[in-house]
């Protein structure tokens, strides 16, 4: 948007589309549902700690699904957990996004072959927007994935149908 780069010296009026402003506001405050499941959750915690500081992207962990925009599924999803994930996803308000972090939630990861109790990919129960590969992905990779999600939000239209 470049809104912040420009100085507001001459006038206090900026002309843009309503959609542009709304998307800008939305992508800068993607509240995250802390959904730490396994090892990847530790990297997610590291990403929100002082070194990587995920909060500068406006990502604030919230405990309740009702207040969240993005669900970061970090870790192995088991069959016992799968139905819970689905239910929590359904509780989130619309325009919700899912970030699948780590090979486990992408496709079952190291447990793809013999894991009789591992869900082979969280996309079997909920739709995923961005996949982050790695076992575990570095915190930088999580930030990159987040930026990809922001791009997606920016290109969306609230008035028209959700971009496929």
């Amino acid at each position: 948007m470049g809104l912040l780069d420009k100085k507001f010296e001459n006038s206090n009026i900026v002309i843009t589309s309503l959609e542009g402003v709304m998307n800008w506001a939305r992508l800068c405050s993607l509240w995250q549902m802390s959904f730490g499941l396994a090892c990847c959750a530790i990297e997610m915690m590291a990403a929100s700690a002082s070194h990587f500081d995920i909060m500068r992207f406006g990502v604030i962990p919230r405990p309740s699904p009702r207040q969240c925009d993005v669900m970061i599924v970090a870790g192995t999803v088991t069959l016992k957990m799968a139905t819970r994930i689905k239910r929590l996803y359904e509780q989130m308000a619309e325009r919700r996004y899912v970030l699948s972090m780590g090979s486990c939630s992408n496709c079952g990861g190291p447990y793809w072959n013999y894991g009789y109790h591992v869900l082979k990919g969280v996309d079997r129960v909920i739709p995923v927007d961005v996949y982050i590969p790695g076992c575990p992905p570095r915190p930088e990779a999580l930030l990159e994935g987040l930026m990809k999600l922001q791009e997606k939000v920016r290109s969306e239209s609230l008035v028209q149908e959700k971009a496929a």
């Binding site: 069959l79 799968a82 139905t83 079952g108 793809w112 009789y116 109790h117 869900l119 079997r124």
Partner: protein
């Protein structure tokens, strides 16, 4: 004073003449009759020169020849000696006496062995599945276990 497994076996043999207790040199370990195991366990825990006050680990094993084994690794913090005890049961009727009231560690470990291997612990107060969902069928760590195609409408294999 730390005792060797062989000495412990001799003590047990003398104390319980009517319970079948054997000694396996190779491991070394003690094989106890499954349905009399609790009496022996109490003795192991309380006798002054044995004092096995902690159960390190309890595992179920499927030996793939039609038997299931419940293996206990005992440790004495007082005398600093260790002992392995095995109860071998046939897979068709896998009943072992529970020692959950002797060492409370056994509570969850027995539930786990029941869940994954299918050994039934007689006298356990709360023998439910612990790791797998309650509505799961079968015992996954049996050697002949086959993974189901679907669980609650979710595809399981990759």
């Amino acid at each position: 004073m730390a005792l060797e497994p062989k000495e412990i076996y001799e003590k047990l043999h003398a104390a319980f003449p009517d319970i079948s207790i054997e000694f396996d040199e190779t491991v070394p370990c003690i094989l106890v009759e499954p349905m009399k195991w609790k009496t022996v366990a109490l003795f192991l825990r309380d006798a002054d020169d044995l004092k096995f006050d902690s159960l390190m680990c309890l595992s179920g094993v499927d030996t793939a020849d039609g038997n299931l084994v419940s293996v206990c690794h005992l440790d004495s913090m007082v005398h600093r000696h260790k002992l392995t005890v095995k109860c071998i049961v046939p897979a068709e009727e896998p009943k072992v006496e529970s020692v959950e009231r002797v060492w409370r560690t056994a509570d969850w470990h027995e539930r786990e062995a029941y869940d994954l291997i299918g050994i039934e612990y007689v006298g356990h107060r709360d023998l439910r599945r612990i790791l797998m969902p309650y509505d799961w069928t079968g015992h996954p760590l049996r050697k002949d276990y086959e993974v189901p195609e679907f669980y609650n409408g979710i595809k399981v294999p990759y």
